[in-house]
């Protein structure tokens, strides 16, 4: 049997997804029986030139969002050489936490980071430059893209493996896809590496009351959480109603509400707008007529709708950025 070639390319990523891959443990060793890993800079010392020299890759895995010029180059190169492209992790799939930066212009981001924060001492107002000459050597930094984007805005993606980081169930499915490809040459269908698609609420082990009523929005440090009862019934925001079930409810079992890292269920175009439709209607649902004004004030208490509802998915919301916008 001929060994296949796998490449893992990093974008703007925290490294957690690479750790999740390493966490495959013995299965990773098993994969190396079937496949050569030809590129994986996070794990071994590879350079982009190494990827350029490889003729053809079977499975190209991209980790992280697109944030600068080198990510663009890497992603396009990977697409060119790979038969199957896998977007691994929520950043590659939806933009992830990094894509919350799209709320601000690039200029403002740099100013905040290099000048405005309290802990920054930069009295000369120095800003990072893209290239500098030191003696005879040119040193350059990759230019930031205008927006932080999920992989699909740039190249065609075959398989989405979301999660922050991708959990066991997603990785197992991905593993099966790889093994199936090696042994039978099966090219997988495009789409998400999870099935069947249900919402987290469908598999949630917690008790749900007949009618969920939110009396007051609470943050998790403000309340002693009942480990048996639905979070929404306790007034704690939980993204279970709209998130895909593909995580075995691990956070829920650890008494932490869902933050939606696996992304929205099918047919949802904008997570935050959909979740607003869902959660706002639960507020004082049985006392609407008596408490009209109070209800409005109560809803105003949600401080940060985008950061709460769009935590991992802002880059793929309805107002996501077009491909032409990537570079100036």
């Amino acid at each position: 049997m001929k060994k296949i070639k796998i490449a893992v390319a990093p974008g703007s990523s925290c490294g957690g997804c690479d750790v999740a891959l390493v966490n495959l443990n013995e299965k990773l060793l098993d994969i190396t029986n079937y496949a050569d890993i030809v590129f994986w800079p996070t794990a071994l010392d590879f350079k982009i030139e190494d990827l350029e020299q490889v003729n053809e890759i079977d499975i190209g895995i991209f980790v992280g969002a697109i944030r600068h010029k080198d990510h663009v180059k890497l992603a396009k190169l990977l697409r060119e050489k790979s038969k199957i492209i896998v977007a691994l992790g929520s950043c590659a799939c939806y933009g992830g936490i990094f894509s919350l930066a799209n709320l601000f212009e690039k200029k403002d981001l740099l100013e905040t980071v290099y000048q405005k924060t309290i802990t920054t001492e930069n009295s000369n107002g120095k800003m990072p430059t893209e290239s500098i000459k030191m003696g005879n050597i040119d040193i350059s930094l990759p230019k930031l893209t205008n927006w932080c984007l999920p992989l699909k805005n740039l190249i065609d993606v075959d398989i989405y493996a979301p999660g922050c980081p991708p959990g066991e169930r997603v990785l197992e499915k991905l593993y099966n896809i790889i093994i199936d490809f090696v042994k039978n040459g099966t090219v997988p269908d495009k789409g998400i590496a999870l099935e069947p698609l249900k919402t987290l609420c469908d598999i949630c082990p917690r008790k749900k009351p007949e009618k969920i009523v939110i009396r007051k929005f609470k943050r998790i440090h403000e309340v002693k959480l009942d480990p048996e009862l639905c979070f929404l019934a306790q007034g704690v925001i939980c993204l279970g109603p709209i998130s895909i079930a593909g995580c075995d409810a691990n956070c829920i079992k650890a008494n932490i509400p869902c933050r939606g890292c696996l992304g929205p269920n099918q047919d949802i175009h904008d997570v935050a707008a959909k979740f607003i439709s869902a959660i706002a209607s639960l507020v004082q649902i049985d006392k609407e007529k008596e408490l009209e004004e109070e209800i409005v004030n109560l809803i105003e208490e949600i401080v940060d709708p985008i950061g709460t509802f769009h935590r991992f998915t802002f880059g793929s919301g309805i107002f996501n950025k077009k491909q032409e916008d990537v570079m100036e």
């Binding site: 707008a273 607003i276 439709s277 706002a280 209607s281 209800i295 409005v296 949600i302 709708p305």
Partner: protein
Amino acid sequence: MSNRDNENFEPKIVAFLCKWCAYSGADLAGVSRLEYPPNVIPILVPCSGKVDMQFILKAFKEGADGVFIGGCHTPNDCHYISGNYKALKRFTLMRKYLEQLGINSKRIRLEWISATEGVKFAKVMKEFVEEIKKLGPLQTR
């Protein structure tokens, strides 16, 4: 769309009107030959509580400059008992979300208009169109 510059700007407004009250109100305004600006594109919905907040974003994305939701008067007019309250609650949170997105929350408006209030419908539409004209065309990134 033709007049996108600020001077002769004619806004596009999508209005989601509930079947029982606001849409009938709009009908009455028409039948009574009341004048109101032609910028409004009415969409019939069964209830203001049916309006998913994704519709608003979709409308903005497709080129609307303002979105209007019309429902039955609170507390007791809603045909489905409390659909208008659902709309009110969603609308409150949605305004906050839009502000964060960088869209002025004045671009969406919620009003209760009964089937007999053709005059109110025409008046509100005039006001809303004026308001959006002042704000100018919606520019989304």
